[in-house]
Symmetry: C2
Subunit: 305 residues, 2 copies
C-alpha cells in the first residue's frame, strides 16, 4: 500500500487523468501539468487508492478515485496560495503556480482539477447501488462545500475578526483538515457500505487525524524553516491565521498533539477489532501517522530546549 | 414555461438550494445570498426547468436541476469578473461581488456554488439508468472543463496572444457560450435518452444559439451602454478580448448574427418534426431567442445610421 510501486502508479495516474486535451490554452496547460507532475507525499491519494482496492474496485478505477481526491486537494492548494488568500511564495519547494503562470491561469487550473475530480469520482461510483451513490454525492457536498473545505477556508481568512482562541482554531481545522481526511477516508469507505458503528469510528478517526495533522502543520509553521517544509513558513503569525501553537503556546500545543495521537490510536484499535477490512487504515496509522507526529514532537522539544 | 410563475418558482428555489448553513462565514454568506437573490433573466435555469419537467422529473427535482445549471453559470460570472480576469465593475446593474465583499470571499462563493451544483445534478440523475448517468457525468466534464467553460475562459484571456481573427473569436465562443447552452440543453435532454438524430440536432442548436448569443453580447459590448446591459461595456476593446464585431466590423457581425439565427430556426424546425417532446425548445426559440436577436439587430442598425 505505501510502497514505492504504489507511489509510482499514482504519479503516472495523476498525469494520465489530468484535465488537458487538444487545444488546451498553453498557460492553463502549464499550471495543470506542473501541478500534476509535482505531487506532495500523496498521503490522501494513497489512502484512497488502498481503500478502493480493499473495497473491491479494479485497479484502473481505484487509481481514478485516488486521482479524484488528490485533484480536489491540489485545487485547494492552488487557491489557498493566491495573493487574496495566503499570498504564499513557495509550495512543495517550488515557486507557487500563480507566481509563475499568473492568477487567472491558476484559478482556471484549480477549476479544471475540481471538474475532473467530480467526473472521476462520479464514474467510479456509477456502478454502485443507489443508496451508496446518494451517500457519496452527499459526502462530497459536505466535505467540499460551506460545511467543509470552502467554509473552513473562509473562516481561516477571517480568523482575526473572531475570538481567535484555541476553540476557533479547532473549528477551522475541523472544516479544513478534518474534511480532507473525511474525503480520503469516509468517502471511499462508502464503497464498503459500512455499518453505523464502523461509520462512527471512521468519522472519529478523521477528526483526530485531521486535528493532529493540523497541529503538526501549525507547529511546523512556527518551528521549521521553508527549506524543511517546502512551503512558506511563519505565515500564520504574519497573516493572523489560526494556529494552535500561537493560541496555546508550543508546549501546550505539543501536549494536545500527543493527546490527539493517542485518541487516533484508540480509534484505530476499535476499527481493527470491528473488521479486518479496515486493515489499510491500521497500516497507514502505524507506518506513517505515528512517525510524522513523533518527529514533530521531537522537533518542537528540541527547538524549545 | 416562461411565465412569471415559473420565474418566481426558480427565484425561490435558487434561494432555498443555495450552499449556506449554520456557521457559514458572514462574508462568504453575503456573496452567496446576494448572488442567489439577484439572478439575471434566468435563461438557462428556465430552459433546464422546462426540459426536466418535460422529461419526467417531479417538480422539486426539476427545480434542483435548474438551480444546478444556474449555479454553474453564477460561479462562472463571479470568477470572470475578478480583477485578474475581466476586472469588471458592475454585473446585473450592481457592483461586482469582489468589489463589495473582496476577492477571496468571491472565489470561495464560486466554489461553493460549483460544489452545490454538482450535488444537485448528481442527485437529480441518481435514479436514472447507468448509461444515462454515465453520459451525464461525461457531459458535465465536457461542458465545464478544459474542453468547455474553463478552457474557453483561458483562451479568452490570452486572445491577444493568438491570431485574434473571426475564427479565433468563434473558437472561444464555442467553448464558453455554446458550452453553457450545451449544459442547459443537451445535459437535461439526456433524461429523455435522445436518439442519435435528436442528439445531433440538439448539439447543432447549442452551437447556433451559443454563437448567436455571443454575437449579441459582442455587439452590445460595442453599441450599448452599461445602463442598458447592467454590466460593464466597452471591455472587449480595452482588454483585447475576442469580439466578433471588433474582428469583422459591426455590419458584417450583424449579417453573421442574422445567418446564425436562421440556422438555429432551421434546426428548431427539424427538432419539431422529430418529436413533440422538444416543444419547450421550440417555444423558447420563438418566444425569447428570436426577439432578443431582432432587438439587437435593430439597435446595431440604428446606431450605424
Amino acid at each position: 500500500m505505501f510502497s514505492q510501486d504504489s507511489t509510482n502508479t499514482l504519479i503516472r495516474a495523476l498525469r494520465e487523468n489530468a484535465p488537458v486535451g487538444t487545444g488546451t490554452e498553453p498557460h492553463l496547460l502549464a499550471v495543470i501539468a506542473d501541478s500534476a507532475a509535482h505531487p506532495g507525499r500523496l498521503v490522501r491519494a494513497r489512502l484512497v487508492h488502498a481503500a478502493a482496492l480493499a473495497h473491491g474496485l479494479d485497479s484502473g478505477t481505484a487509481e481514478q478515485l485516488a486521482c479524484s481526491v488528490e485533484y480536489f486537494h491540489l485545487a485547494s492548494l492552488l487557491l489557498d496560495d493566491l495573493p487574496c488568500m495566503d499570498d504564499a511564495e513557495t509550495r512543495r519547494g517550488r515557486p507557487c503556480a500563480h507566481r509563475v503562470h499568473g492568477e487567472a491561469s491558476t484559478i482556471l487550473a484549480a477549476l479544471a482539477f475540481i471538474n475532473r475530480a467530480y467526473a472521476l469520482a462520479n464514474l467510479a461510483f456509477a456502478p454502485q447501488a443507489p443508496a451508496v451513490r446518494v451517500s457519496a454525492h452527499l459526502c462530497l457536498d459536505a466535505c467540499l462545500g460551506t460545511a467543509g473545505l470552502v467554509g473552513g477556508q473562509a473562516l481561516d481568512l477571517r480568523f482575526a475578526e473572531g475570538a481567535a482562541d484555541a476553540r476557533a482554531v479547532a473549528v477551522v481545522a475541523m472544516r479544513k483538515t478534518a474534511a480532507l481526511f473525511w474525503l480520503s477516508v469516509v468517502f471511499p469507505a462508502l464503497l464498503a457500505n459500512p455499518t453505523a458503528a464502523e461509520l462512527h469510528e471512521l468519522k472519529a478517526l478523521c477528526l483526530y487525524w485531521g486535528l493532529a495533522y493540523q497541529a503538526v502543520d501549525d507547529l511546523s509553521d512556527l518551528l521549521a524553516s521553508s527549506i524543511e517544509t517546502g512551503k512558506t513558513t511563519g505565515r500564520d503569525r504574519a497573516l493572523q491565521r489560526p494556529n494552535l501553537a500561537l493560541a496555546l503556546g508550543v508546549p501546550a500545543a505539543r501536549r494536545r498533539l500527543v493527546r490527539l495521537a493517542g485518541q487516533a490510536t484508540a480509534t484505530i484499535t476499535r476499527l481493527e477489532n470491528l473488521h479486518s477490512r479496515w486493515d489499510y487504515l491500521v497500516r497507514f496509522h502505524r507506518s506513517l501517522f505515528i512517525g510524522q507526529v513523533a518527529s514533530l514532537v521531537d522537533l518542537s522539544a528540541a527547538r524549545a530546549a
